[in-house]
């Protein structure tokens, strides 16, 4: 059976060892860099995922109009057209206004907690709420009003309570506190009993059922159609550059805190993508160096190769046989890089992240797929190059 061994003495394959070994090393480093970058990209994604505020794989962000010195005195609320425009954007899945109260509201906690404050109320479509207990409903004539309270407000209260000689409250006790809502109507003050039925991590507000707000605005504030000053949008990716560009263009302000992780993620992933790009560059340079080596080898063996073709050796067979010689080398390089990536991922998860649950200690399947594709591409490129060089000899 004919093999590379038969034709090896006719090729100057052993020359230019330095450039050959350099290209091997370059390929190894490049592949390792690329695979590690991909794994890191996935790690960042896993580590910086806001699991709580995400629902159905979407981000919910509150949008307001930016208040500047120029527009301070004007009406900075969203019109129906603004809302329609927001909804029509491809990167916004859904949008809903936060309707605020158009009448004065004062809240007090009765005799147990001697505390009273002017308050604002808002209502939002239930689709946008992270926690909606069954008791969050209201019927006309009902004196009890369920409230969904922001966890952040609750935290704020607990921070300043001791200095005001007020008791700090746990989530549970909070729901048992009876709050008295004093609504100022044209006909005098009307009292409601309010109860906190849920805390929301997502929405920074004091939410009441939608139908109560509409009824109260109409009856107490004399307004049936209210333009909202805040809108909640639902989007697949809060860091979509198109979305951010759109918001910036319209001079809309987003809750930056909500996208803080996203921003860090974006920056880190950009850095890692840069590294991956560098890895690709190193691979390309290594391949280029190797192609120079191959070209030189074939140029040096040109007379011999030409004579082999003259004697009846098939150029297809020759290119396959010559190219095949490097398959084990390439396989070893890519496999070593893959193993090293696996080892690094394990070490990262174990020694740097102390076995955090959201991070896997093994490589992502994507990394393995990329390694296999890289290997196939390298072998194919190599084969095509040898073949081209050999066919050009004739």
């Amino acid at each position: 059976m004919l093999s590379f061994k038969n034709i090896a003495p006719f090729l100057s394959a052993e020359q230019n060892k330095v450039s050959r070994w350099l290209s091997y090393a370059g390929l190894g480093v490049g592949v390792l860099l690329l695979l590690c970058s991909i794994q890191m990209f996935i790690n960042i994604n896993d580590l910086l995922q806001e699991k709580n505020s995400r629902k159905d794989g979407a981000d919910f962000i509150s949008v307001t109009k930016t208040i500047t010195n120029e527009n301070m005195g004007k009406d900075n609320r969203f019109t129906a057209t603004d809302l329609k425009e927001l909804k029509s954007q491809s990167f916004i899945t859904d949008a809903a206004p936060l309707i605020s109260n158009q009448f004065r509201v004062k809240a007090s906690a009765g005799n147990i907690i001697p505390f009273s404050t002017d308050l604002f109320l808002e209502s939002l479509d239930e689709r946008f709420l992270d926690t909606v207990p069954p008791s969050f409903t209201w019927k006309e004539g009902q004196a009890d009003i369920p409230i969904i309270f922001s966890s952040d407000f609750m935290e704020m209260y607990n921070v300043f309570a001791p200095s005001q000689d007020l008791p700090q409250l746990s989530d549970k006790t909070m729901s048992s506190v009876n709050i008295i809502l004093e609504c100022y109507t044209p006909y005098g003050v009307q009292n409601f009993r309010a109860r906190i039925v849920a805390l929301s991590d997502r929405i920074n507000s004091v939410l009441v059922p939608n139908n109560f707000m509409q009824w109260a605005n109409k009856n107490f504030g004399g307004v049936s159609q209210v333009n909202p000053s805040r809108i909640y949008i639902k989007t697949i990716d809060a860091n979509n550059p198109q979305l951010l560009n759109f918001l910036q263009e319209k001079d809309y302000r987003v809750n930056k805190d909500k996208t803080k992780f996203g921003r860090v993620k974006q920056i880190l992933q950009a850095i890692v993508s840069g590294l991956a790009g560098f890895g690709v560059l190193v691979i390309l340079l290594a391949m280029l160096l190797f192609s120079f080596y191959l070209q030189l080898m074939i140029a040096k063996s040109k007379d011999n190769l030409q004579l082999l073709l003259t004697l009846g050796y098939s150029p297809k067979w020759l290119s396959k046989t010559v190219a095949k010689k490097w398959v084990p080398v390439y396989t070893t390089i890519v496999l070593s890089a893959l193993l090293l990536t696996g080892l690094l991922q394990f070490s990262f998860q174990h020694f740097v992240m102390y076995d955090r649950e959201e991070l896997s200690g093994t490589m992502h399947w994507m990394v393995i797929v990329v390694a296999v594709v890289l290997l196939a591409l390298t072998i194919l490129t190599n084969y095509r190059l040898v073949r081209k060089l050999l066919f050009n000899l004739n």
Partner: protein
């Protein structure tokens, strides 16, 4: 297999140069089993014709056919198939690997088709008197020894046609006869045709057809 020449003429030939030629610009065909002797004085295009027939050059008008296939349309891959199985050659300029031994030069051809057994190389080398040179680097052998090696190499494969371009130019009379005998013997085994091109008529070559170029 059959080789046919249909009005083949080198494009670089001056006008009237082919006058009187029995090959150039004529329709000629060579069939298996009939030895052909082409007699050609210097400069009449003998080596050119052999190179045309083997497909090394294609700067000619007209057509050369292997069976019904016009070899002008062949790529390197297709030529390799014919050269491996059907056509063998002894070049005037020998074309051996100078940095390899005589044996390596013969083996590289033998292993391509495995038509001959390995031990036949030694037997043939012995017959032509170069057995002791088998392990010597080709470039260190005399031209005559190299020519015998080139002849033995041409016999390491199956063929229908054996093209010889002045194959004895560096051999003495005795070695010429021995080499011719060996080639005729091997050709008969394959029921093949020898096409021999030389400056003058070679009396120990038994040819059915003689053509003047």
């Amino acid at each position: 297999m059959q080789i046919a020449l249909q009005k083949v003429l080198p494009v670089f030939f001056e006008e009237n140069k082919n006058d009187g030629s029995q090959v150039w610009n004529k329709i000629v065909s060579f069939s298996k089993g009939q030895n052909i002797h082409i007699i050609a004085p210097s400069g009449s295009g003998k080596t050119t014709l052999i190179h045309f027939l083997y497909g090394l050059r294609n700067d000619y008008s007209g057509h050369i056919l292997y069976d019904a296939n016009d070899i002008k349309h062949f790529d390197a891959e297709k030529f390799s198939i014919w050269r491996k199985q059907h056509i063998s050659i002894v070049f005037q300029d020998l074309r051996l690997f100078p940095e390899q031994t005589i044996l390596q030069n013969l083996e590289i051809k033998r292993v391509l088709s495995s038509f001959q057994a390995a031990e036949n190389i030694a037997a043939m080398a012995e017959r032509l008197g170069i057995k002791t040179k088998l392990h010597q680097l080709c470039k260190n052998c005399s031209y005559g020894e190299q020519q015998r090696a080139a002849i033995i190499r041409a016999l390491q494969q199956p063929f229908d046609f054996l093209l010889l371009d002045e194959p004895f130019s560096h051999l003495d009379e005795l070695n010429r006869v021995k080499a011719m005998e060996l080639m005729e013997e091997e050709s008969k085994k394959r029921n093949a045709t020898i096409i021999l091109a030389d400056l003058r008529e070679i009396e120990y070559f038994k040819s059915e057809i003689t053509l003047h170029l």
